[in-house]
C-alpha cells in the first residue's frame, strides 16, 4: 500500500468503527519488508525474505476499552466483521473512566526537523552486493586462527512504513529503514567453546560499516579463552558501552507512569530528589539526526520534546502517557523514551580501565533480573579482571547483586565512548563497590 492508500484504509476503518457504536477510535496500518542472508562454511546457510502488513485498532465503546490487530486487512467485508466482533466483545468489559484519547493540543501537528531515519534507496540495492558483503565478513575470520570452530556471518535489512489516525484529529506517518552486519565466532579453548558476536548497523546503506566486523568477533572470542570465576568480593565494575543498557533499563522502567501507578517502581515520589550520583545526567532527545530512537511523535501521537531526565543525579521527569497521567493526576508528557543521551566524562574505555586498581570489566550479561518495586537486582556476567590498570584475565560464571538505588549512587565515572547504534546511547560506565559472586 502507498502512504495515501494506508491513510484511506485507516480512515475507512476508523469511520466504520465510529458508525458501529465506538465513541473514540485510533487506527494504525503498517507494512514492512525485511531480508536476511546468513553465511557459514563459505556458502549461504540461510536466505530469508519477509513482507508483512497489519492493522491495529483501539476502541472506546461506552467508556470501555479494547485493542485489536490483524494481518487480514485487504478484504473490507472481513475487516467489518472483525471490527463488529471487537465492538461486541468490548461491551462485556467494565468501564474505565481514565481511558480517553490524548488532548489534541498535545498532538504533533506536522513540520519539525528532518530526522533522516529513512533511506529512500532501500529497494534499489543489488541483492548480490549484500551477499558479497556477508562473504567478506566471513573471510575476515576463516583460516585466521587454528582454534576457530565455527563462523557465522549475516546481513540483514528492513524497511517499514506506518500511518496512524485518531478520531479526535491526529494524522501522522513515518518510515524507517535499517541495515546490519553481524559475525558470530566460536573458538576452542579447553573444554569450553567460547563464542563472541560483533555487529554493526545503520539506518542508511551507505553508512553501514563493513570492515572489521568478523575480525572484531574473532578477537573477542579468542580473548575469552581460559575464562573462569574468581573469588567473590566487592570490587569496582566497568560496564562496556554496548552492554550498559542492561543496567540502565531497570532505572528507566522505574520512571514509567504505569510502574508508578501500579507501585512497581523504586522511584515513586522522587521527582526533584537526588536519586543517583552527580555523574548521572541523561537527556531524552528525540531530534538526533539518524538517532535510533528519533521521532517527532510518540505512539499516542503526542509531539515529542527534548527534556532533562536526570540532572546531576536529580530526577527531573517521569514518562507519563495519557492513561496513567489521568490515573495519577499528572500532566502527560509522552510515555516512552526516544534517544537517551548521557553527559560524558573525560575518559574513554582504556582510560577508565587504567584508573582501576582492582575490578572487573563487564563485557556481557548472562541472565538475571531486577525487581521493579524494590530495585533489587542480580545478573550473571562475563568479562575481564582488571589489576593495576590492566586487563589480567577473562572471567565468567559470576553474578553481580545489589540494589539499583545504591548502584546508581555508586556511579563514579561516565566514559566518552558513546554507543550510537542504540536509542540508549550508553557510554562505558564505572561503578564502585559492586558485590561480585564467584568462588
Amino acid at each position: 500500500m502507498t502512504k495515501e492508500e494506508k491513510y484511506t484504509h485507516a480512515k475507512w476503518a476508523m469511520n466504520y468503527a465510529l458508525g458501529k457504536g465506538s465513541q473514540e477510535v485510533k487506527v494504525s496500518i503498517f507494512d514492512s519488508t525485511s531480508s536476511r542472508v546468513e553465511v557459514r562454511e563459505e556458502k549461504i546457510e540461510k536466505l530469508e525474505q519477509a513482507n508483512q502488513n497489519g492493522l491495529s485498532i483501539r476502541l472506546l465503546v461506552d467508556n470501555k476499552f479494547s485493542s485489536h490487530s490483524t494481518n487480514r486487512l485487504a478484504n473490507k467485508k472481513e475487516l467489518e466483521r472483525f471490527i463488529n466482533e471487537a465492538i461486541a466483545g468490548t461491551k462485556f468489559l467494565s468501564e474505565d473512566e481514565y481511558r480517553k484519547l490524548p488532548d489534541p493540543e498535545l498532538y504533533y501537528k506536522g513540520g519539525g526537523e528532518e530526522l533522516k531515519t529513512y533511506d529512500a534507496g532501500f529497494r534499489e540495492i543489488d541483492p548480490q552486493s549484500k551477499i558479497d558483503m556477508v562473504f567478506a565478513v566471513e573471510k575476515e575470520v576463516v583460516g585466521k586462527d587454528e582454534r576457530i570452530i565455527s563462523v557465522t556471518a549475516s546481513y540483514f535489512d528492513g524497511m517499514s512504513s506506518q500511518v496512524m489516525v485518531t478520531s479526535n484529529g491526529f494524522e501522522g506517518d513515518s518510515e524507517n529503514t535499517y541495515y546490519g552486519l553481524n559475525a558470530s565466532v566460536s573458538v576452542k579453548g579447553g573444554d569450553a567453546r567460547p563464542q563472541a558476536n560483533w555487529g554493526e548497523s545503520s539506518l542508511f546503506y551507505e553508512n553501514l560499516k563493513t570492515e572489521s566486523v568478523g575480525k572484531t568477533a574473532l578477537d573477542r572470542a579468542l580473548k575469552k579463552i581460559g575464562q573462569g570465576k574468581i573469588e567473590s568480593g566487592k570490587m569496582t565494575m566497568i560496564v562496556e558501552n554496548r552492554t550498559a543498557g542492561q543496567l540502565l533499563s531497570p532505572l528507566i522502567s522505574a520512571l514509567y507512569g504505569s510502574a508508578i501507578q501500579q507501585k512497581n517502581s523504586f522511584l515513586i515520589d522522587k521527582l526533584g530528589q537526588k536519586v543517583a550520583s552527580e555523574k548521572l545526567t541523561i537527556i531524552d532527545d528525540p531530534f538526533i539526526v539518524s538517532g535510533r530512537g528519533s521521532t517527532l511523535f510518540d505512539s499516542e501521537g503526542l509531539a515529542t520534546k527534548k527534556r532533562m531526565v536526570f540532572d546531576k543525579g536529580v530526577l527531573r521527569e517521569y514518562y507519563i502517557d495519557t492513561y496513567y497521567g489521568r490515573k495519577l493526576n499528572m500532566e502527560p508528557n509522552s510515555g516512552s523514551t526516544t534517544n537517551l543521551v548521557f553527559e560524558s566524562g573525560d575518559k574513554d574505555l582504556e582510560g577508565l580501565i587504567a584508573s582501576v586498581e582492582r575490578g572487573i570489566l563487564v563485557t556481557g550479561f548472562n541472565g538475571g533480573n531486577s525487581n521493579g518495586s524494590t530495585g533489587d537486582f542480580s545478573f550473571g556476567i562475563d568479562g575481564f579482571l582488571i589489576g593495576k590498570g590492566r586487563i589480567v584475565r577473562p572471567v565468567s560464571e559470576m553474578n553481580i547483586t545489589g540494589n539499583m538505588k545504591q548502584l546508581w549512587m555508586d556511579l563514579a565515572e561516565v566514559g566518552t565512548d558513546v554507543y550510537e547504534a542504540s536509542s540508549r546511547r550508553t557510554p562505558s560506565l564505572l561503578f564502585n563497590n559492586v558485590d561480585f559472586s564467584g568462588i
Partner: protein, 489 residues
C-alpha cells in the same frame, strides 16, 4: 517453468474429511499445494515444505479492580521453506492466493541454483496424535463468559490479605489452525489450543512494597477455567508475595543448591536442554558437542524431552515439520543418549528426527526446540537432601534463565527460596541470580528425590528471536556447587 506431469492426476488423491476441512479453512486444494511445492523445488532443492497457520489470540486484563481491557490478534499466512543440504531458503506470504504463494516459493527456491527436475510424490496423509482433547473451543467462548473468572481472582486476592494494594490478572487464550505439506507428499494438520492465567499481586507492609506472581498454562479449552482454579491461583499469589517480606540475600559465592520439585526444571532447560539442541552440536559450537554416548551424570539421572504429555503447554500433535512427536531420553542412566533434533540436524547425523522442529509461527523457520523437559525420580528423599546441606540455598520459584551455548555458563533467576543452615530450611531469600556451568552442574547432581513434578507455569522459551511455549519439571535434587548471587561481608 514446467510443471511435472503428476499435476494432472492430483484430483484423484484420497484425503480424509479432517484434512479436507483444513484445506477448506485455508481455501487451498491439493493441486495448489503441489504447484507451490513444484515451484519451490524448481531450482534443485532437496526438500521443501509449506506451513499454513491461522492464529487467533485473545487476552482479557484486570487492573485496579476491574476487567477493563481486552486485546485480540489475528495472524494468517504460509511459510515456504526449501532445503539444500544444510542450507535453507525461506519466505512467507500473508496471502494464500496462488500467485502470492508462487512468488514466495520462487524466493525460497533460490537457495539452490541448478535447474532441477522434480517429480511430485504421491500425497500421504499423516494423522496427527491427540495430545490435547478439549471440550470447549476458545473461539466459541464470548468475552462475557470469561470476565467473571478474572474478576473473581482479583476479589479473592483482596479478600485473603489486607496488605494487598494492587492486583493484575490476565486470561490469555490462543487457537492455531495448522496445515502442513511437503515435497515428500506428506499432508498433515493440527488444531492447537493454548490458555494461560496470570496473576500479579503487590502488597504493602508498613511501607515495604513487595510483589510476586503466579500462573498456569495448558493446551486446554474453556472447561479448564473453574472456581477451584481461581481460588488456587489467588491463594498462590498471596503466599508467594507474603514470603518476600522477611526475605534476605544469601552470602555471595559457591555453595550447595537444593532445587525444589517442579519449576526447578529450569535447571535442565538452561544447563542442558539448549546445549543439547542439535543445530549447535552439528556446528560444533555447544559445550556438549563431542559428548554423545559419554557419561555425563550420576547413574540415577534420566532426563527427558517430551512432546506427548496430555494437555501440556509444551506438547504438540505433530511438530512444525510434520514429524511425529516423541518422548526422547536426552540422558539415560547418566549417559548422553540423544540430542534434540529437527529435520536439518537429523539428516546431518543420519538419524530420524526426534520431532523437535518448532517455529514461533509461519513467519519463522523451524529450529530444534524443547517441549517439556524433565528429570525422572531419583533414589533419595527430599528430607535427606536438605539434611545433607550445612550452608546453602533451597530454591523453588523462578522468573527467567539463560545460557551461553559454547561456554556452557547458564543462569536462572530465583524469585524466592530459603537459606539452608545446618540441614534445615531457615530464612526466606529472594531476587538472586544463580550461575553455573552445564556439564559441571549435570555431573554435580549428587542426590535426587522421588517427588518428581511438572511445573505448569507459563514458560516461554526464546531462541534465535523466536518464542515457543514449553514446560519443565524436576524432583527435588541437590546440585553440589553453584555460584549464588549474594552479598559480601
Amino acid at each position: 517453468m514446467v510443471l511435472p506431469p503428476i499435476m494432472q492426476s492430483c484430483s484423484n488423491i484420497q484425503i480424509s474429511d479432517d484434512v479436507k476441512s483444513y484445506l477448506d479453512h485455508f481455501e487451498v486444494n491439493a493441486s495448489m499445494l503441489q504447484k507451490v511445492i513444484a515451484t519451490a523445488m524448481s531450482k534443485g532443492g532437496d526438500y521443501a515444505d509449506l506451513f499454513f497457520e491461522h492464529n487467533i489470540s485473545n487476552s482479557l486484563g484486570l487492573e485496579d479492580g476491574k476487567v477493563n481491557r481486552a486485546y485480540s490478534n489475528i495472524d494468517y499466512g504460509v511459510g515456504i521453506r526449501v532445503l539444500k543440504g544444510d542450507q535453507t531458503g525461506f519466505a512467507y506470504s500473508e496471502s494464500v492466493a496462488i500467485n502470492d504463494m508462487i512468488n514466495a516459493a520462487r524466493m525460497a527456491a533460490s537457495i539452490a541454483n541448478n535447474a532441477g527436475d522434480f517429480d511430485s510424490k504421491e500425497t500421504t496423509e499423516k494423522i496427527p496424535a491427540d495430545y490435547y482433547r478439549i471440550s470447549r473451543k476458545w473461539e466459541d467462548v464470548s468475552v462475557g463468559e470469561k470476565v467473571p473468572y478474572v474478576q473473581k481472582i482479583n476479589d479473592n486476592v483482596f479478600r485473603l490479605d489486607e496488605k494487598v494494594v494492587k492486583v493484575n490478572v490476565s486470561l490469555n487464550d490462543e487457537t492455531a489452525y495448522v496445515l502442513f505439506y511437503n515435497s515428500e507428499g506428506r499432508l498433515s494438520y493440527d488444531y492447537r489450543p493454548l490458555v494461560s492465567f496470570q496473576v500479579g499481586c503487590t502488597m504493602n507492609r508498613d511501607g515495604q512494597i513487595e510483589n510476586s506472581y503466579t500462573g498456569r498454562s495448558f493446551r486446554k479449552g474453556f472447561e479448564w477455567v473453574t472456581d477451584e482454579l481461581t481460588d488456587e491461583l489467588a491463594r498462590e499469589a498471596i503466599d508467594r508475595t507474603n514470603i518476600l517480606f522477611d526475605a534476605t540475600k544469601p552470602r555471595a559465592g559457591e555453595m550447595p543448591v537444593v532445587m525444589g520439585a517442579g519449576g526447578s526444571g529450569i535447571l535442565l532447560h538452561e544447563a542442558i536442554g539448549h546445549t543439547f539442541e542439535a543445530d549447535f552440536n552439528r556446528k560444533g559450537t555447544s559445550i556438549f558437542s563431542d559428548k554423545m554416548g559419554k557419561k555425563v551424570a550420576e547413574n540415577f539421572v534420566n532426563i527427558i524431552d517430551d512432546g506427548t504429555l496430555l494437555n501440556n503447554r509444551g506438547s504438540i500433535n505433530i511438530d512444525d515439520e510434520g514429524n511425529e512427536v516423541r518422548k526422547t531420553y536426552l540422558v539415560k542412566d547418566g549417559i548422553l543418549n540423544s540430542y534434540i533434533h529437527d529435520r536439518i540436524s537429523s539428516n546431518h547425523y543420519g538419524i530420524e528426527s526426534t520431532g523437535n522442529g518448532r517455529r514461533q509461527s509461519f513467519r519463522y523457520v523451524p529450529l530444534p526446540r524443547m517441549r517439556s523437559t524433565y528429570m525422572e525420580v531419583g533414589p533419595h528423599t527430599r528430607e535427606e537432601i536438605i539434611e545433607n546441606v550445612n550452608y546453602g540455598v533451597y530454591v523453588d520459584t523462578f522468573s527467567n534463565g539463560q545460557v551461553q551455548i559454547g561456554a556452557g555458563d547458564f543462569t536462572f533467576f530465583v524469585k524466592s527460596g530459603y537459606l539452608i543452615e545446618n540441614g534445615k530450611l531457615t530464612q526466606p531469600i529472594k531476587d538472586i541470580n544463580i550461575i553455573g556451568n552445564g556439564p559441571r552442574a549435570l555431573a554435580d547432581i549428587t542426590m535426587a528425590a522421588s517427588d518428581y513434578l511438572i511445573d505448569n507455569s507459563t514458560w516461554m522459551c526464546g531462541k534465535g528471536g523466536q518464542s515457543v511455549p514449553v514446560t519443565c519439571g524436576l524432583p527435588t535434587v541437590l546440585v553440589k556447587k553453584l555460584t549464588v548471587g549474594g552479598m559480601n561481608s
